[in-house]
């Protein structure tokens, strides 16, 4: 291993010596794809947010009118609050569960490998299919509770605002915990054994080792996983759309859903684009914030001395 990596660094250095133009060339395909599929549409959305367009007629430049309409709509703070709730609650449920399952699966026993495969299954299913299935199971008249005659299960799951929110959080967690557990599993397996051996010699117990070695060593894994969770949950759409369509009333009407309803159902493309811009800004701010939490220098090693 070390011989190969040494050779690689030396050849890279040789390239650099011959001409610095090689490395920028390599970045070009990625940059082009990023420009074509992210930057240009983003600029389009930004421009459209200053217009009124019903998707049929002319696109009319109306300055800040769409912005004023969206920002003065009481639906916006509500949608922001719903989005925040979904983000915060699903993070709070998923992170501890993922860490515990990830640590558990990092062990190399046979039965754990088998369980790892089973845990992974929900991630393979499409969100729409999951939503349709849960909707059928939770149906107040023909669902699980009614079928098995269990009164506890026979709630108006998707018809009561707080229960509907809980169901959304539960399903999101059920679907994505396997993925984040996988991330943590990888993180745990990279922690050098020597740390644990040293702790054992010092007489530390399992719980102590978990809190003093495993958790701190998982810091960057946690930041990666949290960024994915937070930014991902900003754009939850398919699951909520199929499950509750934002209801009951507007109890689960998150930003992404609000954007769809305004743009596609109410024909207000300008306003939908305003919400799109807000989503991008919120997502960027959160991603930057999470990077900050990781400390000034994310490349610093935690393995010194290990």
């Amino acid at each position: 291993m070390s011989a190969i990596s040494a050779r690689r660094t030396s050849s890279a250095a040789a390239h650099k010596a011959r001409g610095g133009a090689v490395l920028p060339w390599l970045a070009l395909p990625a940059l082009l794809a990023f420009a074509a599929f992210a930057l240009i549409p983003l600029i389009g959305v930004l421009l459209l947010s200053f217009t009124s367009w019903d998707t049929l007629g002319e696109i009319k430049l109306t300055g800040l009118e769409s912005w004023r309409a969206v920002l003065s709509d009481p639906g916006l703070p509500h949608a922001l609050w719903v989005t925040f709730l979904i983000t915060a609650l699903s993070w709070a449920v998923q992170t501890p569960a993922s860490i515990l399952i990830g640590v558990f699966l990092a062990g190399r026993q046979r039965y754990r490998e088998l369980l790892a495969v089973l845990y992974f299954i929900p991630l393979l299913l499409s969100s729409a299919a999951i939503a349709i299935t849960f909707k059928a199971l939770l149906d107040p008249n023909f669902g699980l509770g009614a079928g098995l005659h269990i009164d506890l299960l026979n709630q108006d799951w998707l018809g009561t605002p707080s229960l509907a929110m809980g169901v959304v959080i539960f399903i999101v967690s059920w679907q994505f915990i396997p993925f984040h557990a996988l991330l943590y599993q990888g993180g745990v397996r990279q922690i050098p054994r020597s740390l644990y051996e040293a702790a054992e010699l010092d007489g530390a117990g399992r719980v102590r080792m978990f809190f003093n070695i495993t958790l701190p060593q998982l810091k960057y894994t946690a930041i990666t996983s949290s960024t994915l969770m937070v930014v991902g949950s900003l754009t939850f759409f398919d699951l909520i759309f199929v499950l509750t369509e934002g209801g009951p009333g507007d109890a689960t009407r998150a930003l992404a859903l609000d954007m769809y309803k305004r743009g596609i159902q109410a024909n207000l493309m300008g306003q939908a684009c305003v919400i799109g811009v807000i989503l991008v800004l919120v997502g960027l701010a959160l991603a930057l914030l999470l990077r900050r939490l990781g400390g000034r220098n994310p490349n610093a090693s935690q393995l010194e001395g290990a």
Partner: protein, 454 residues
């Protein structure tokens, strides 16, 4: 190292496989049934050599696809030089696709739709032909159809669409077996409805089934309460864009009565999470978990197909919505879809427009198409189509629908179709909140007044 190289190779094959898979998937979604036309066909169809071809998109699946397809095929056989090329598209996908195509100037020659507010938005964008003078020259085409079907085709006094297919009023369905079991009679007035609510609740049966998550299902209740209490003028004022039209005392009274019904548990537990798409509301009625249901006349076909023996055994009852005591509305009034609508794209070539007009005059609702629609349990919007019902096993229901449609003093169009898509979305949103009891009738009126005329 072994495993590492091999995993890299699988990654490469994976990454090459992905675009291919994506391309295949794209083919799957953009290649609807028989036509090869696709989205580009509408604007460019005329330039391909030989006879001109008009294009026509409509909804896939039963019950409508077969009669529509057969009508086009008969027309094509009779007109070898002016063919119509058809494309079928799924219901929900159609609504988005047709809007996108029209916005991109790539609409089909013949635009199938629901009339009303959607048609108005096409008209305002200058995307559909004015057919007023054509109907004047071809008055026979117009005169044989129900006059009520032209309301939703008329925008600011001009006709922009040819009414077609069937009439679909909203009907109060009930399960006769459940009524017998409880010893109840169908309601003759709104007061009876309130009594029945208590009676059925006491018997442990939900009085009404309702698919509340779909929202337009809730709307049907408001449509009837508004009409029976205040007459058709109340919503007409909204439609005409009168300021603060929702503040009409009749409107507030209807909204208040609506919330009283909900508080009295008139609707099945958990109604706000039931969707109409899954037909769970229909199932509640035919399994006897609910006694009554307000729904579109197409519900009859669903009950027949899925409801076991409820229709053949005569267990399904139906009636028009009863009057509200002291209300102004005429009890013969009804609401729903007065027809479906065909418009001609203003971006089509003159040859294509000619083909479309010929189809309107000779192809749409010819004798065979009328028979086909009757066969699906529908009532064609043609005067005298009731003579085709004889011998049909559904004759009783068809005659009832024909009677409702032809005797209605006012056949109002469903609100969400009549309003612009923008106002309709706000309406449905506020209806969901009204039924959730999270806003009061006055808040509903205030929220809705804000989008009048938009």
């Amino acid at each position: 190292m072994e495993s590492r190289t091999s995993s890299r190779r699988t990654f490469l094959t994976l990454s090459m496989g992905l675009p291919l898979g994506a391309a295949l998937a794209a083919c799957g979604t953009s290649g609807p049934a028989p036509s090869g036309g696709g989205a580009g066909g509408g604007a460019t169809g005329g330039s391909g050599g030989g006879g001109a071809k008009a294009t026509y998109w409509f909804l896939q699946g039963p019950p409508g696809e077969a009669p529509r397809t057969a009508a086009v095929q008969r027309f094509n056989k009779a007109n070898p030089n002016g063919q119509i090329e058809l494309t079928t598209i799924q219901n929900d996908a159609y609504k988005t696709k047709i809007k996108t195509a029209i916005g991109a100037n790539q609409a089909p020659t013949i635009i199938w739709g629901w009339g009303g507010g959607g048609l108005r938005s096409y008209v305002q964008a200058g995307q559909v032909e004015d057919l007023t003078s054509w109907f004047e020259q071809n008055s026979a085409v117009k005169d044989r159809l129900f006059p009520s079907s032209f309301g939703a085709a008329t925008i600011d006094g001009k006709i922009y669409a040819m009414p077609c297919e069937t009439v679909q009023p909203i009907v109060l369905f009930y399960n006769k077996k459940v009524f017998e079991k409880v010893g109840a009679q169908p309601p003759q007035s709104y007061g009876d409805i309130l009594d029945l609510v208590k009676k059925f609740n006491a018997a442990g049966i939900a009085p009404f089934s309702l698919a509340g998550q779909s929202r337009w299902t809730n709307m049907m209740w408001l449509e009837f309460l508004f009409d029976r209490i205040g007459g058709p003028e109340v919503f007409q004022a909204v439609f005409d864009g009168e300021k603060d039209a929702w503040n009409n005392p009749a409107s507030i009274e209807a909204l208040t009565k609506m919330q009283e019904l909900i508080k009295a548990n008139a609707f099945i537990k958990g109604f706000s999470s039931i969707t109409a798409d899954s037909n769970a509301d229909q199932a509640l009625l035919y399994t006897g978990k609910a006694a009554m249901m307000l729904h579109g006349s197409w519900s009859y076909g669903i009950q027949q197909a899925q409801g076991g023996d409820i229709v053949p055994s005569g267990g399904l009852g139906w009636m028009n919505f009863p009057p509200v005591d002291g209300g102004k509305g005429d009890p013969s009034d009804t609401v729903g879809n007065p027809g479906q609508y065909l418009s001609i794209s203003s971006k089509a070539t003159p040859e294509q427009k000619e083909i479309a007009k010929k189809f309107f005059a000779t192809g749409v609702l010819d004798d065979q198409e009328q028979k086909d629609w009757v066969g699906t349990g529908g009532v064609p919007i043609v005067k005298g189509s009731d003579k085709l019902f004889a011998g049909s096993k559904d004759a009783e229901f068809l005659n009832f629908i024909y009677g409702v449609a032809s005797n209605a003093k006012v056949f109002a169009q469903s609100w969400d179709q009549a309003l612009s898509p923008t106002a309709a979305e706000v309406l449905l949103d506020n209806i969901a909140k009204l039924f959730q009891l999270s806003i009061s009738p006055q808040q509903f009126a205030t929220n809705m007044n804000a989008v009048i005329g938009k």
